[in-house]
């Protein structure tokens, strides 16, 4: 059982990191932390796959939830009290990717990241899950824990908005 779990996790590791990275707004350090915390939850039995959905959608849901927890912590750190604490402890971290990493990313990737950042969070999430992770709309709905109708709406609106931001011609060819 544990062997099977480890094999599943290994297969999904890279895509899971990509999803964590999306959930963390492109912050590599935070994405790594989120993924590690998600693994820890799984190993300690704090997250358990009941079998209601596929392992992939369940695991992506765990990562998404863990990223939201991390975001709440981040918001606390950015609050007035948190800033005061950082000043006292002198502990600060720049969430932006390093300049060397920025150079490594090609223009297309940076353009997409900038465009997704301008979309509402749910539209960006569903587009990532469908185009990047190759999930179906119903699988995306399971990850995002919303209805299929809502996901479809976010998907259509998101695509239209993304096209206008990326300035790509809408395709209607059949």
């Amino acid at each position: 059982m544990e062997r099977e779990l480890a094999d599943n996790l290994e297969t999904l590791h890279h895509d899971a990191f990509g999803w964590a990275l999306h959930c963390c707004g492109g912050d590599h350090a935070r994405a790594e932390e989120v993924l590690q915390n998600a693994y820890l939850k799984l190993a300690q039995g704090r997250a358990y796959h009941g079998g209601q959905s596929s392992f992939r959608t369940w695991w992506f849901g765990v990562i998404r939830y863990t990223a939201h927890e991390e975001l709440r912590r981040q918001r606390y750190r950015e609050s007035l009290l948190g800033k005061l604490w950082l000043q006292l402890t002198g502990d600060s971290r720049d969430p932006r990717p390093s300049p060397s990493h920025q150079v490594e990313l090609n223009e297309q990737t940076l353009e997409l990241r900038a465009a997704l950042a301008q979309l509402p969070a749910r539209q960006a999430e569903v587009l990532h899950l469908v185009f990047y992770q190759d999930l179906s709309l119903s699988e995306a709905a399971a990850v995002m824990k919303i209805g299929l109708g809502s996901v479809r709406q976010h998907y259509e609106r998101g695509k239209a908005r993304l096209r206008s931001l990326l300035q790509t011609p809408a395709s209607h060819e059949d």
Binding site: E2, L5, A6, L9, E10, H13, H14, F17, G18, L21, H28, E32, L35, Q36, Y39, L40, L42, A43, Q44, G45, H101, E104, L105, N106, Q108, T109, E111, L112, R113, L127, H128, F131, Y132, K159, L162, R163, L166, T168, P169, A170, S171, H172, E173, D174
Partner: protein, 114 residues
């Protein structure tokens, strides 16, 4: 023949996917193994601690029932009430003391010591 209606968007995501995969941290199965260790420790705490407490309680309950050197203890203690028994208030003389305000008391409340 049907073409992909989203062919204009896919290359952007595929490029991002490739870039992210090259940046992803290496898979380390020991992440899962090391996470099991605290669980083992907590199992020891959950079972070992109550077992130790129960053993200590059992020993403490068993200890008084064992024959001890009680005779030696009674010999070591000082002897109490070794004087011969006497009547209570024997040292007090009957109605040896009268207070000046005794006349204020009602007659039936006056107490006579034996």
């Amino acid at each position: 023949m049907k073409t992909d209606p989203d062919h204009d968007l896919r290359p952007f995501f595929q490029a991002q996917r490739r870039a992210d995969h090259s940046e992803a941290p290496l898979w380390n199965p020991r992440l899962l193994e090391s996470a099991h260790k605290p669980k083992q420790a907590s199992w020891i705490l959950r079972v070992g601690l109550p077992a130790t407490a129960a053993a200590v309680l059992a020993v403490s309950l068993w200890m008084p029932s064992t024959p001890t050197s009680q005779t030696h203890l009674s010999e070591a203690l000082p002897v109490l009430l070794d004087a011969p028994s006497e009547p209570l208030f024997a040292s007090l003389e009957p109605s040896a003391f009268t207070s000046p305000s005794d006349f204020l008391l009602p007659a039936h409340l006056s107490i006579q010591l034996p």
